[in-house]
Amino acid sequence: MIDLLLALTLPLVALGVLLARELFRAVVMFIAFGLLMALVWVRLQAPDLALAEAAIGAGLTGVLLLDALGHLRQPHPPGQPLRSLLPLLTILALVLAGALGLVLLGALLEPLQPSVNLPAEVALHIEASGVAHPVTAVLLAFRAWDTLLEVAVILVAVVVGLALRFSHDDAAAESRVSSPLLQGMLSWLLPLMLLVALYLLWIGSYRSGGAFQAAAVMAAMLVLLRLSGQQLPGQNHPLLLRAGLVGGLGTFLLLGSVQLLQGGAFLAWPEQLAGAFILLVETALTFSLALLLYALFEASPAPARKGHPPRTGDQPS
């Protein structure tokens, strides 16, 4: 019953995101979509994905979208040349979506032909990975290469954000909410969030949880702090901030190279210490990813003030 309800609501909300006339409404729908999606993952017994979806898909992305919306002061007039093409484009999109849906349905209905049983393989080798939770074992042992590069992807996204941030005038984004309710709530919410983040990090080795989920909670904490107008420690030390941003990738690279330098393979963890190494990497990743996710929020350019158009571009000197 719940499943049926979810399966019906999800496409409707998705349509709502696409068809909403106001951007604000679309963003709110998008957040709702993320939360529903998280429920779907719970029903599919993928709590790791549910946690990540709720924290990153709905939470942080929602905050980023709302933040971006705040910078779009004047509503954009819809492009005139596109408007005449709109019915045509709509039909084209519907046809494409229908065709893709049919193909996916066909793929769903045909019998699977797995040539290897990977879950069984994972179960067979999990002992050697150093952790007890299969998802963590895949992410940080068997396919650590992918995880390492994914961390690099997030870092690149932040670096691009920072690069564009500094190509505008460096006026600090003054987006503080001064509400006594928020201040009051923060004093007991923040320690709780920190605790949840550390708990998620710690249980990652034997249950659902881990660096990405913990980092998302911690990033949300930083965003709340920033919104309440608090000074973050180390906020004005760009070098310290950057060291924090690259810390996760750096730790991952260095610890992954320990065996390499002794003639072993890259990303192989030392036999007795595999669990400890993975926990170390996860801890570094948690703090670094939290900072990275927060930096995505922080890097959004300050709204243009009247009479001070943002200076764009490098003028060749």
Binding site: E110, P114, V153, L164, F266
Partner: protein, 491 residues
């Protein structure tokens, strides 16, 4: 030394570790240290590439299991002749671009801060893709490459560059998502991701067909194949010259490389005659449309960028010329196709660097701005012209050698229609390259605004152009290297 090369640990992971370390260091170090870090890093990466080459010569194709986890559980890197060719090409072109950028960026103090880390990430991503043998790992590589390339385009912060990079981002993201959906379908159906293992078990199924279609679509979008090319010219034209050189020379080729691995290595039996002809037709359309649009451009860098669209089209001819044709025709097309990629990479990188120098010297980005350049700029023009020789496919350049091989393959397999494409494509390139030259030798009424570019800027363009030219004369070794990786061939 010799025993170390044959028995010592493979150095493959260093080709990614070193650029990643470079980006980390350059993000944390101050401005003054950047040249030192960059020089050291480029030197070390070049050394690692050289050692990987020597290792390959000693032990041939080999795999490297990351973390010592065997396939299908783990991920492995794969080195064969093709991967090696692209590693060498990447190291060569990127280090010349680094040299050029070191001087050129002195004019752009703001862009400089984040240029180095993004360049290093881009380099790491390319090496990840050349070495990857795992479908999901390729997705991560494509994401890393896409984001760093978009960042490099946006770096100047100019309005035009921002708009172009946003469009580039949309195209790159859509392409990645299509690829990811395909990967999910294959993984759901077959239960594994390693390309060489999948090649053994890949069967005709709805999931498999749908996945191949989606992945191909994503890759065609990423390699700017006609008619999905319109994001490329503004992105490549509005970036800084060393960035344009890198994007046109190397980054655009990554999607093509994966496309070939996908079809000819993973699912060769699924590539039907008509599908291969369709891919070839898209390539032919790109050759004509890109060439025609290049002739019509008024901005120098837009012209060069449209020429990239045309030249990438030739690469797609590889599919019809290797599918269902004889053994000899397949071999010729295989060597010709990859030689075309190599020579275009060198020549286009050289041409973008030279075009950047011309614009810098004349102070104007449009073609009429070049009036009078012929008087002052023999060096920059020489680089541009030598690169043009290779693009037009005139002997003795690498471009000539590549088109010659493709031509022979088309003759041998009786597909005369591709010969028309090859010949008229070359004629079109001649038109737009001579158009630039003609503008340079129009006498100018205002001869005083000329600024001599630094010697290192001209030399880096010239070095790449000479390499593209020499590729035609010294094509024996690259051809042998390419032929060792012929799918289904005796390697």
């Amino acid at each position: 030394m010799l025993s170390w090369l044959t028995e010592g640990p493979s150095l493959l992971p260093w080709l990614v570790i070193l650029p990643l370390l470079w980006s980390i260091l350059s993000l944390t170090a101050g401005q003054r240290l950047q040249p030192l870090i960059a020089t050291t890093a480029v030197g070390l990466i070049l050394l690692a590439t050289l050692l990987v080459l020597l290792q390959w010569l000693q032990r041939g194709d080999h795999f490297y299991s990351l973390g010592d986890w065997a396939v299908p559980l783990g991920i492995r890197l794969r080195l064969d002749g093709l991967a090696l060719l692209l590693l060498l090409l990447t190291s060569g072109i990127t280090s010349v671009c680094t040299l050029h950028a070191g001087r050129y960026l002195q004019e752009y103090p703001r862009a400089k801060t984040y240029f180095w880390p993004l360049l290093a990430f881009c380099w790491a991503a390319m090496n990840v893709i050349w070495l990857s043998a795992d479908l999901f790992n390729l997705y991560v590589g494509l994401e890393l490459l896409g984001f760093s390339a978009v960042g490099l385009v946006a770096l100047t912060g100019e309005k035009k560059a921002l708009a172009a990079s946003l469009r580039y981002l949309y195209a790159a993201l859509l392409g990645s998502l299509a690829w990811l959906l395909g990967v999910a379908l294959i993984y759901g159906h077959q239960g594994q991701l390693d390309i060489s293992s999948l090649a053994l078990t890949f069967t005709d199924s709805i999931s498999g067909q749908a996945a191949l279609a989606l992945m191909t679509l994503g890759l065609l979008l990423k390699m700017a194949a006609f008619p999905l090319h319109s994001w490329l010219p503004p992105a490549h034209a509005s970036a800084l010259p060393p960035v344009s050189a890198l994007l046109s020379g190397l980054v655009a080729k990554a999607a093509f490389y994966i496309l070939v691995r996908l079809w000819l290595e993973m699912a060769p039996d699924n590539l039907t005659f008509s599908a291969a002809q369709l891919l070839g037709a898209l390539g032919a359309a790109a050759v004509f449309w890109g060439g025609w649009m290049a002739c019509r451009q008024q901005q120098l860098k837009m012209l060069v960028a449209y020429s990239t669209v045309a030249q990438l089209g030739y690469l797609l001819l590889l599919f019809p010329l290797t599918t269902g044709t004889g053994e000899e025709a397949t071999r010729l097309a295989w060597e010709g196709g990859w030689l075309q990629l190599t020579s275009h990479a060198l020549a286009k990188a050289a041409m973008f660097l030279a075009a950047g120098n011309l614009v810098l010297a004349m102070g104007r980005p449009d073609l009429p701005g070049l009036h009078g350049a012929g008087r002052y700029l023999p060096f920059s023009l020489l680089g541009f012209g030598l690169a043009g020789v290779s693009l037009m496919g005139l002997p003795p350049s690498g471009g000539f050698m590549a088109k010659w091989l493709l031509l022979q393959s088309a003759l041998l397999s009786g597909q005369w229609w591709w010969i028309l494409v090859l010949l008229s494509g070359s004629a079109l390139s001649a038109v737009y390259i001579f158009k630039v030259y003609q503008q340079c030798y129009v006498e100018s009424d205002n001869p005083d605004r000329f600024r001599q570019p630094a010697l290192v800027l001209d030399l880096s363009a010239l070095a790449l152009a000479l390499l593209a030219l020499a590729l035609g004369i010294l094509s024996a070794w690259p051809q042998w290297l390419i032929s060792t990786a012929l799918p289904g061939g005796a390697a």
